[in-house]
């Protein structure tokens, strides 16, 4: 690998938090990827949009609430967060329900964005 290779990485999150560990462990990869100075995008679609829901209170299930981490991502220069409009609508959510600033896009725009990536990781 030549020094300074920058690839377009996309992390596709399609699973809800807490029910399974995928959302949390996906976030761990995202944080590590920041150290490699790559062009990182995060996508939230299907139940993955629930990861960004405001007001998560996890004390009762004795799990760590990792949702504040999404707000800290810009400190790692990870600023490209995309949410698919159709997924939000199907879950009774709007952009106002999300705990971080995102770019909302249509399914077609999402598909086109995916096509421009070098590496797509799905959890």
């Amino acid at each position: 690998m030549s020094e300074g290779t920058v690839k377009k990485f996309m992390f596709v999150n399609r699973k809800a938090p807490y029910g399974t560990i995928y959302a949390l462990e996906s976030l761990e990869v995202v944080l590590i990827s920041a150290a490699f100075d790559q062009d990182v995008s995060l996508v939230f679609m299907d139940d993955g949009v629930f990861q960004l829901k405001k007001g998560q209170q996890t004390k009762g299930i004795e799990n760590k609430n990792f949702s504040p981490t999404y707000r800290a991502l810009d400190g790692y220069d990870i600023e490209k967060l995309y949410v698919e409009q159709e997924s939000l609508a199907a879950r009774g959510l709007t952009e106002d329900d999300l705990l971080v600033d995102v770019t909302v896009m249509s399914k077609a725009e999402m598909g086109k964005l995916m096509e421009t990536m070098d590496v797509v990781l799905s959890f």
């Binding site: 690998m1 290779t5 690839k7 990485f9 560990i21 995928y22 462990e25 761990e28 990869v29 590590i32 990827s33 150290a35 490699f36 790559q38 590496v119 990781l121 799905s122 959890f123």
Partner: protein, 119 residues
């Protein structure tokens, strides 16, 4: 072509690791290089030397060890995911090594393709 593999599920519970294994064998047979196989989530359980399937079943863990030995594969188990699930150096099967998540990102950068197998 250099191909990296990500395996997110454990042995026996899901077919994902079987598919990944057969994919790797086919890729090697075609002359491709498997740059790295990275085990994450419950995928780390593919590396447990304590695994003992029935005699008439495939031994998924040994199968990976053997393929790694024959083709000098780099089988990397995520340390954070491994420690969560009780995988340590003392019960790590031959051919596997425990390392950080950076190894996954690095494989994605260095390989021409990265293919994910999971649930």
């Amino acid at each position: 072509m250099k191909i990296a593999i990500l395996i997110n599920e454990g042995p026996y519970q899901h077919q994902a690791t079987d598919t990944a294994f057969l994919f790797c064998k086919a890729a090697l047979a075609k002359g491709h290089e498997i740059r790295r196989v990275f085990f994450y989530h419950d995928g780390v359980n593919n590396s447990s030397s304590l695994t003992e399937p029935p005699q008439d079943d495939r031994n998924i863990v040994q199968r990976w060890s053997k393929l790694a030995d024959e083709h000098k594969l780099d089988l990397v188990v995520c340390v954070a995911a491994a420690l969560r699930r009780g995988i340590k150096d003392e019960n790590l099967a031959p051919g596997f090594r425990i390392s950080g998540l950076g190894q996954l990102v690095e494989a994605g950068i260095e390989a021409d393709r990265l293919v994910t197998f999971g649930d």
